[in-house]
Symmetry: C2
Subunit: 441 residues, 2 copies
């Protein structure tokens, strides 16, 4: 669109001039200019190829030709709001319903995961007529005012905690309250939620929801112990609230074994509301809330219309449908499982060699490498993590960190990421870890 291509410095100068500085760049000291991408690879203005290990939005691969084609074909025909009947909307809802437990059969379409979580909160509060929400420590549910309120990751740095928001401990069995040596961490962490509920009840507070990322992400790529969701769901239901599973980071087959990450907890677990975003449209702004008939009916009983101008338009739905088609046709869920397991194996070999690696955890292509200064104390190796991602970028591998200590290397690549890519990353990682060890000695 530009009259003539700019060099990196010129683009950066204009960005500093015109874009709010709260919008951060990756590698702010030496940002990357990306001009095209394909599959799991991105290319800068000099033609350098980067391996993308983190973009879970480009779910079926950057610029997947079938997604691009579906968008174009629908853009040529019609892009309007959902106040007219259109088959794409109903086809898409029906297709999504087939991926979910039968109970989750009512859909709302929106433009972003944040919009989805905001609506989920409204649905829960309307249905229960309660206000209070339990969230998990370090959670991030979105950038909107209502979501900053329920995101400890954000509100700790801003206005602080609202009286209707309660923070439960992160069910992290590596660095949390109850660890791998505990005989029943799922129950122990669930009991913490129960304690919060009991305390709040003594203060006459009432619960609308427990809001949980199916796999806590910015909290450090955490995998809650199996059975935890069933137990906390029971507690929140007893308190009259609902269970909201935030699948925005991790849904759509990423975890390999299942289509939805909440299903890792077992077939007997069914959330009351599921929110979807990021990967759903492979980069196109789409999002979705799935819920039960009862909750949807309580919401419409207010008589107040819910209208989302762009939400559920025929283009977004065509794209969403095509993403589902591709996941199926290219068997990306099975691929995520296979490549993820291979990747975990390679990483575990590294763990045996490098004392900096404290923990390797993951399911499918959602993997965290927890770096520690000390294997015993498990103190976060934040600086080392920062060094590694900076060095990896010089090696044309894009990776980033998560966790409160920013010491967890997070892998959530496009699902077309393959075993060769995994080998390349692990080789580079090995090399850089050796560099670090030489420096230290």
């Amino acid at each position: 669109m530009s009259s003539e291509p700019r060099n990196r410095q010129q683009t950066l100068a204009l960005r500093k001039q015109f874009i709010g500085s709260s919008c951060k760049l990756f590698f702010p000291e030496d940002p990357v200019k990306i001009i095209r991408a394909k599959g799991q690879y991105m290319y800068d203005e000099n033609g350098n190829q980067y391996l993308d290990c983190i973009n879970n939005v480009a779910h079926v691969g950057h610029c997947h030709p079938e997604v691009v084609k579906a968008a174009h074909q629908q853009n040529l025909l019609l892009n309007t709001n959902s106040r007219y009947l259109h088959d794409n909307l109903v086809d898409y809802a029906q297709r999504l319903s087939k991926t979910l437990p039968e109970k989750l059969c009512t859909f709302y379409f929106l433009n972003s995961g944040s919009e989805a979580n905001d609506l989920a909160l409204r649905l829960a509060q309307q249905y229960t007529k309660h206000k209070d929400v339990i969230v998990i420590d370090h959670a991030y549910h979105g950038h909107l005012t209502s979501l900053i309120d329920i995101s400890p990751y954000k509100f700790r740095n801003l206005d602080g905690q609202k009286e209707w928001v309660h923070v439960a401990p992160l069910p992290d069995t590596y660095r949390g309250l109850y660890r791998e040596n505990h005989k029943d961490p799922a129950t122990a962490y669930a009991d913490e939620v129960k304690k919060i509920i009991d305390k709040a009840h003594r203060e006459s507070r009432k619960f609308a929801a427990l809001f949980v990322e199916s796999l806590p992400s910015v909290a450090g790529q955490i995998i809650p112990p199996s059975g935890y969701f069933q137990k906390v769901a029971e507690h929140i239901h007893t308190a009259g609230g609902v269970f909201i599973a935030d699948e925005i980071q991790v849904g759509f087959g990423r975890v390999g074994k299942h289509f939805w990450a909440f299903q890792l907890q077992g077939e007997d677990f069914i959330p009351d509301i599921v929110t979807m975003g990021k990967p759903i449209g492979n980069g196109h702004p789409v999002a979705c809330v799935a819920t039960t008939k009862d909750i949807a009916e309580a919401f419409s009983a207010t008589g107040v219309e819910y209208f989302n101008t762009f939400g559920g338009n025929p283009v977004s739905c065509a794209i969403g449908l095509t993403v589902l088609d591709i996941i199926e046709k290219e068997q990306l869920q099975a691929h995520a499982l296979r490549v993820g397991n291979f990747f975990l194996e390679l990483l575990n070999q590294q763990k045996a060699k490098h004392p900096l690696i404290g923990d390797i955890r993951g399911v499918g292509l959602f993997i965290g490498v927890d770096l520690v200064q000390d294997q015993e104390k498990r103190s976060p190796a934040s600086k080392e993590a920062e060094f590694i991602i900076t060095r990896l970028k010089e090696e044309f591998v894009i990776l980033s960190t998560d966790g409160p200590g920013r010491n967890v290397l997070k892998f959530k690549p496009p699902l077309c990421f393959n075993t060769k890519d995994a080998e390349l990353v692990v080789d580079k990682l090995d090399m850089i870890l050796r560099e670090l060890e030489i420096r230290k000695t």
Copy 2:
């Protein structure tokens, strides 16, 4: 995308099954199925052509070939987040800055007008360190939790008014507190805002913002008296708050004389924050907040990142840039002025003939026809308005109503709407008004 085309009833049945019933259809008794659209026309599954008088989102015309092409070309290349440098983002911000007063030179990109208004509210509250907001009666600023709080159109039917939200009278000189016979309605309405501020100050409350649609839309297509914005801006500034102009419905040349509707108030008026949505991407989910360096810096001084996953991606920006190109190349702003004036003239001829028409108001292609049961009392002719839009639909003209009495016919068509379209609508309207008059006698 569907395996075989469905008839209207089949699509409707699936919609009832899978889509939350809070999401309303136009003409719920007999909804329309639209399968394609071009310019100002939409087509149903039987090939019937409808004239679209209301879709301000399809700003440069449904499926404008250049917008479709820009989306496709960029989709083929790259669609990723704004954490990498990209020229489309900075080009787009720079281009938008040229349409605005110099002071409004910092931009944030998002996915919906609602996201934009939510951020505007955060910016104002962060900058001023105050909480309270003044909004205009019957205003609608979006579907998010934070915006329902500041939208009397919504909160009156839900949780009610928060203590930090103050509602000022709608500056409606036809049906409001101060009318066309008042010697200075701008000052009179502005004094009402001043009164609210003074009263709240006595209660030790502090103001973050006055939030105003540049032309109140769901309130009934209202044109605030000239000079009103300057006066209320002075009051809110004195109180330490900022002026937020919501241009989501009416920006981008619709008003003809100016590119932004707030500019109708005079060149000496400059808002502190401007929010944009709907027409900005011709249907693609894009939105924008423009503000001053000072406000942006106060926001980033918190140290908290603002990250919007899809906001400002290269595809959205390519589309936004192309929309600006088309407005310029096709001279749509001048066209809106010319066609709007012609349309207003035709409508005023009808007013002389039909006592049901109480008021005709408009600028460019933002026009309201206020229907009254009684010219003296100005009581809303709600049922008649409903009858008219239902009959117009049978005549293949899509129109809808607005205003608290749902008695204002609202025209906000794609900007390619032409004089022939205006003639057609007015002829149909004349015919239907005569039908109504015959029924009444």
